[in-house]
Assembly symmetry: C2
Homo-oligomer: 296 residues x 2
């Protein structure tokens, strides 16, 4: 698989999502440098257009091996890299990678089946192994907040059972459509309103009713409120309630965008749980390096 | 208030919502006839344009008194008819009506305050009093399904405490935006998939996670499923769980669109509760007549 490329000389790591693409150069000594952050998501690449995008990357940034992760490996991407069933180890992930070209690998996602139910992740797995490389407990509970938040029980450095909560998508959708739209335009911050929402979400299972209350309180002028932060707290509180019920003990690892991990840390604190925050970008690059080390 | 109009000679009843308008003629003997069902919601009427719309109605359908209900009485409508606090009796509603012109009344909505929380309805109150006129128990639990489903505890023929659940809006939004959109295009019917979703929604408080499972099961091809009916069942099951926790005993009155009341009746049956369904159009006209009787 290594072909003419030597991964230990450094490589390019790309987080290639549905609507965005980010790329970094990872040097032989581990130093990283961001190369691009653009809107060329996989849906914007013409059918058959990936080889020329890879050639362009190499022309601009050097003739190096390239690691691709994210939706690039989905059925809407370049070549489908089938989900690895949980529990998924880093070695299992590396074994299941696809190699569409010499020196180009695509990281697969992870699936989890339990009874008649199922879950999937694609893209978060690199960050999770990066978090483990950064020293996370090999059997702890991990949360990756985002459009589709993932709660993962780690099992001996493997991705064990996990559950996805649609928190980010719901907040984003409610702030762009429907009756709450006008009330959710502010910036979300972990203030008293966020904490009040999170307390409610942690304690009550009436999310779809409490969301409407935001509108009713506004119409009746009951207490001034930063409704964007309250609604975010409500959704994240419910998310944390679902995640904690999912199992695991000790501090919760939060891997992702720092503004999001800060909000989840606040909600976890209200639930009496400690959190350790790891920047998702750093985790992605550590995970990419951990994969590359297995390719040399 | 009666002016030159005699309500006992018959009147026009209009359910004037944000995006739609429906009107009926109600004859002196109680017979009703639909006059129109069009897209002239209150947001489509130019500022100051309501008097000429009323004149047009009278020119086309006879010089009769007109009862207006729904968002026409909101701050985005013609003249705001302030919410009547619950418990709200029919007499209290009639007393609080606004009369923008001789022979034209606007029905107010109802508000409910409890501690630091609040709820509102506008439009459903006419159907609720119509349901009572149709013989509903004066102290029972009532549900009006829709974009914003209302659960109402009736108290001696008054609208008592109530709670709104955003079930219809969430289903509609998820079927038009986001990752579940493709899976929610089918027609919702109370089939086995609907019942499986409702059972889950009645029993579990993980709605925002279970919604994502719909996507994961599809990607992993775990069991063929009518996902639109499953998702609707899930949301309605959670809705019924919230509504039943809200209080009340005996059969639940379901007042609204027959296709929706049928789905809620199915979910209630899974929860071991009987339901009595009343067509919302019939209830609206009965409620309008009950108001008109108080104006003669």
């Amino acid at each position: 698989m290594a072909g003419r490329f030597d991964w230990s000389d450094g490589f390019i790591a790309v987080d290639w999502g549905t609507t965005n693409r980010r790329a970094w150069a990872v040097a032989a000594n581990g130093e990283t440098r961001e190369l691009l952050d653009d809107g060329l998501g996989v849906l914007k690449v013409e059918p058959g257009g990936f080889p020329s995008e890879i050639a362009a990357l190499r022309q601009q940034h050097g003739d190096r091996p390239i690691l691709l992760a994210g939706m690039i490996g989905s059925n809407r991407g370049w070549i489908e890299a089938a989900y690895v069933p949980a529990p998924a180890t880093l070695d299992g992930i590396v074994d299941a990678m696809r190699w569409p070209e010499d020196g180009v690998c695509i990281v697969p996602g992870v699936s989890y089946r339990y009874g008649r139910d199922a879950d999937v992740m694609r893209g978060e797995e690199v960050q999770i192994f990066g978090g483990l490389a950064a020293g996370l407990q090999p059997d702890g509970l991990l949360c990756h907040p985002g459009t589709h938040a993932k709660w993962v029980r780690l099992q001996g450095r493997a991705i064990g059972p996990f559950r996805t909560v649609m928190t980010g998508e719901l907040f984003s959708t409610l702030s762009r459509h429907g009756i709450l739209m006008d009330r959710l335009q502010g910036k979300v911050v972990p203030n008293d309103n966020f904490r009040a929402g999170a307390e409610h979400g942690l304690g009550c299972d009436d999310l779809t009713a409490e969301l409407f209350s935001i509108r009713a309180r506004y119409l009746l002028n009951v207490g001034a409120c930063d409704d964007a932060s309250y609604a975010s707290g409500l959704l994240i509180g419910a998310d944390v309630r679902i995640g904690l019920a999912f199992g695991g003990e000790g501090p919760v690892a939060l891997v992702g965008r720092p503004d999001l991990t800060a909000l989840y840390a606040e909600a976890l604190s209200l639930a009496g749980r400690e959190a350790r925050q790891i920047d998702g970008e750093r985790a992605f690059l550590l995970g990419a390096r951990a994969i590359a080390e297995r390719l040399t």
